[in-house]
Symmetry: C2
Subunit: 442 residues, 2 copies
């Protein structure tokens, strides 16, 4: 019989343990953080009726959609994000769920785009949203969630940039440019990357406005500095435009509320030039950058929207949410050398080399697990050297060596693998305390 | 604009928070248990080259497969289990991973079968396997993992039934029925459900053997009782068939090792009549039933196989593993009324009803979260009564009431929602200890 070549599809990948362990830990941290604020998990099907997915799609998402006709002749598609399924879900269940409705959803999505470095056709999204309220408290909370989440991941140096689309929209209205908002805001998004001059040219080109008009929009970019400085400069730039000034006042409220909630002022930047060019957003918007790696872009972005599910229901559902970029964050942590390359999820390894004592190894492992210490026993009585090589290669923290002599003396040798040190610790099956203490204090 | 009807595909379902919270908790418990034994997580793509999936498929799985041709003209399919992807994964990566390789994989699979009560076209599987070793220690460990897992889920009354396929195969060989093993074993699987007589008829019918031959096979069913009784009776039934006796000896070793590992003897049943009719298994096999709900069938099953990935590699990869039936277990827990219907994942609710104190509510919530107490703040300053109704409906444990008076006095009223009791507890933002203590001791 000829063999089938084992391979994955182009643009798809396997996660081996060393890559999957930190990924899983990151998702668990996200879940814990979301839950601590009262966000509840939901899940929706991978496959949806095609019309649900294409209803809101752009030409680009339609082209990238994995779609087919199922065995029951139904046109179906694989979800390409978690926002469209959330809109469908909310339209279908919101009467049962009630508002405010706070959910998170961590799940894979699929896009048939041409794979580039670090982009795959299957990837996870990690979203949280509060639906059914326009309250500023939900806006404040979204900032607080992002701050808690990034800190829980173990990152200290980051900046959450906040703006309010109402400021931009008000300004464009007062400049008579409201009908050109979309191309102008998309150009504005490039400011940090390409600079003032090129952004001006881009606005002229994309939105068909004059260079002078573009300069007036870009005047916002001069409104920089600390939060207090920005809030002091804003009135002068916004003039008497009511919408823009209300937007600035709400931005101030969000800032103050986030500080009251314990977010460090150093980590919030009021940046009235960020736009997040999606038509979708109507209120506060935010981006999160790592201070050590600003070039990778935002690792957590989102904002307030006015109506989530207008395609599927007449019920008005405003909300606010954000999305953690899991893949981008993991690759950043790797660049920053904050990821271990361990391929084992537990700290202790027990070589099984004295086959007359098999049950003793098993009892020892059970005792450690009972104390919350993850422990692997090697399954075959091979030579100790080979087993220690296995332990080293997989990144275990400790190897516990016990042969006939140790068992007789009531001792276990604790090897700290990274430091190549070892010491004998008293151990008996009914008196494991000393060993547990040694393994839990480092 | 006409609305698109929000609906899910036939055979698919949304998970609302009340269903998703226990589901997620169950998966986390499974992950923690697997990790504590040194099993590491992996993930594989949802989509595979079609030939990978159909290579081992039966007609039935092929018919149920979600398959299509992708935009790059590749025939692809959505995985229908986690075993075929594991085999492909192992063939592709085992040289890098090394053996023994211990992995778990919790992920959805898709089968286009006709939906029945409690069966869906998308469902999760939760598998763990040890690959690349024939050691009995891996067999013992599999039993220990199942025991730890079910106990960690909070179930005490369960039975792990264990057998060794070598006993059955040896017996069939000595009866000259080896070539009819598959239909005979599939019939044997029905014994517990349909009884001796019907099983005999089924064997005669399905395998074309005589009723007397069927009786000889079913003689195994008489070999019941405690583990010690079964091990005492077995030699008489097996005669001098070497394979069967070796199988019985290994079964004894697994039983003893599991007891040494701390599994209660009450929870292990040596049942030489269970067969798990898949050709796949070659050694130890097990099933797990809930003592309070035996009728729902096995909630965790598996066994030892001789060669995992023969379709994709010449490398011989024996292994052992099992699969937790998440959906069956959840529905059992629901039947046993062990699932809460909470739709909130955190215990504390803070009504926001005195709008002048918004920042105080936020600070209080932050303080509790810092102490590990999940806390939701209602986003809008509505009437207290409406907010308490929201808290009741969602199953929060505590509501913390504080208006102007309480803030002034440095107190918070703790309402225990289920008991409809309340008491005032001292609280200040810089002295939260008393409140934290009250909320963490029940």
């Amino acid at each position: 019989m000829s063999l089938i070549q084992p391979r994955t599809l182009k643009g798809f990948r396997d996660y081996l343990p060393a890559a999957m362990i930190p990924r899983e830990r990151l998702m668990e941290t996200a879940r814990e953080t979301f839950r601590s604020f009262g966000f509840a998990p939901i899940d929706t099907p991978t496959l949806e009726h095609l019309e649900i997915l294409t209803g809101k799609g752009s030409e680009e998402t339609d082209r990238q959609l994995y779609q087919f006709v199922d065995a029951g002749k139904r046109p179906v598609g694989m979800r390409f994000d978690l926002t469209v399924p959330l809109a469908r879900f909310a339209a279908q269940h919101i009467n049962e769920l009630g508002t405010p409705f706070k959910r998170y959803h961590i799940a894979p999505v699929w896009r048939g785009e041409n794979p580039q470095a670090g982009r795959y056709r299957e990837f996870y999204q990690c979203d949280f949203d509060t639906i059914g309220t326009e309250s500023v408290l939900a806006d404040i909370e979204a900032v607080t969630v992002i701050d808690s989440l990034i800190r829980a991941i173990g990152i200290d140096a980051f900046t959450i940039s906040i703006n309010n689309r109402a400021i931009l929209n008000g300004l464009l209205e007062s400049l008579g440019l409201a009908d050109k908002a979309t191309p102008i805001l998309r150009s504005l998004d490039k400011l940090a990357k390409i600079g003032l001059e090129a952004t001006n040219a881009e606005m002229v080109n994309a939105a068909g406005i004059t260079s002078e008009q573009a300069d007036q929009v870009l005047g916002l970019a001069q409104c920089d500095g600390t939060a207090e400085q920005v809030f002091a400069k804003l009135p002068g730039i916004l003039g008497d435009n009511e919408k823009a000034n209300e937007g600035a006042a709400r931005l101030r409220e969000i800032y103050d509320g986030a500080i009251a909630s314990g977010v460090s002022p150093d980590r919030i930047k009021i940046d009235v030039s960020i736009a997040r060019g999606l038509d979708y957003y109507t209120g506060v918007i935010f981006e999160t950058t790592l201070d050590e790696l600003p070039g990778i872009g935002s690792i957590c972005s989102g904002g307030r929207y006015d109506n989530l599910a207008g395609l599927y229901t007449k019920q008005h559902l405003p909300g606010i949410g954000a999305s953690l970029g899991l893949d981008r964050l993991l690759s950043a942590l790797e660049t920053l050398e904050r990821l271990s390359s361990n391929s084992k999820p537990c700290p202790v390894f027990i070589p099984f080399f004295d086959k007359d004592h098999r049950d003793d190894y098993l009892r020892l492992a059970t005792n450690l697990r009972k104390a919350g210490i993850g422990t692997e026993v090697y399954p075959e009585p091979r030579k100790l050297k080979a087993q220690l090589k296995y332990a080293d290669g997989h990144g275990f923290q400790y190897a516990l060596i016990a042969g006939g002599n140790e068992w007789e003396r009531g001792e276990v040798q604790v090897k700290v693998l990274a430091e190549k040190t070892s010491e004998d610790i008293a151990y008996q099956h009914d008196a494991p305390e000393k060993l547990i203490e040694r393994l839990t204090t480092s």
